[in-house]
Symmetry: C2
């Protein structure tokens, strides 16, 4: 592949950013049914996307952390199908939808990077599903380790791993203890 393809799409988007917005915890980035005018990349903090149904039920669609693109699919919609709320103090980069779609149409390199980004997101989301469909903490941890085999564990970050693999921190500590050599 061409060398230019190695640049990260998210970095590219950040470089293209036209604005920056800061949100207090609990503040909305956008509301369900409002018009889609821009795409956002989380600079710091986290945005949670939640869809509410008429019957009152709700479901989380995405938990977008640092350097995540918020609601990729919104690019292809006129209105948002979910609310976006900052779950902690958060700042985001903003690129207008017009700019984004313009680049996509005119710059085939940009289009390629965007598709590549999406394809990878698909892959990692699917892997997460497979990990979460495993029943025991041991199996899920094995899956997590098998997936990101390059960069091993994390120091002081096990708690966040617990969240990722959908188990309580306590259960993960116990599993880790079991694996520690005597």
């Amino acid at each position: 592949m061409i060398s230019i393809m190695n640049i990260d799409f998210i970095d590219l988007l950040i470089a293209m950013a036209e604005r920056r917005r800061s949100l207090k915890q609990e503040a909305f980035l956008f509301h369900q049914d409002s018009a889609v005018n821009a795409v956002y990349v989380v600079q710091e903090g986290a945005i949670e996307l939640t869809r509410y149904q008429e019957d009152g039920s709700s479901i989380i669609l995405q938990h977008a952390g640092r350097h995540s693109l918020v609601a990729e699919a919104s690019v292809y919609s006129d209105v948002y199908h979910c609310h976006a709320v900052a779950v902690e103090p958060t700042s985001v980069f903003e690129v207008s939808k017009a700019t984004f779609l313009g680049c996509f149409r005119e710059d085939s390199e940009f289009a390629q990077l965007w598709a590549q980004h999406l394809a990878r997101e698909v892959q990692s989301a699917r892997v997460r599903s497979e990990i979460l469909s495993r029943k025991t903490v041991a199996d899920r941890l094995d899956g997590w380790l098998a997936w990101r085999n390059e960069d091993l564990p994390a120091k002081g970050q096990w708690k966040s791993v617990a969240t990722q693999i959908g188990v309580s921190a306590e259960a993960l500590y116990r599993e880790l203890a079991k694996r520690r050599p005597a």
Copy 2:
């Protein structure tokens, strides 16, 4: 959006198909580390993508059922990073990678449809993750119902729902029984 955008990308790919391949159960569609020359859409049956590590561990990357595109991310790779095996008698449509990338470069409508397809896949894979991170059968079923609220349940298909939400069929039947009015 333009009306042409409503056509399904998968249907488009099927129409473009240059070949069709039939696989017996357990047959390989491709192997890890072999060159990527084509993309495949499942016509009938199912393909399971599994990645094996040096240490012997493995993880399922995708379970591609009818009308699923197999290993979207392979389009942006020279070699496959996983094995693809038919888990039942399966037939697939084949489109060469060259044709695919050519269309992407020259036909902006095709590119748009491809990105749109990927964005939707990202979304549904993320939703599945959120559902699977819920702990009880009741919560997962609620999530499943909240997600595909349009077309309700399924007749004679509850068992497959059980697989999707990662619970045993028995547990799902019990939950459904609880919800049935006296």
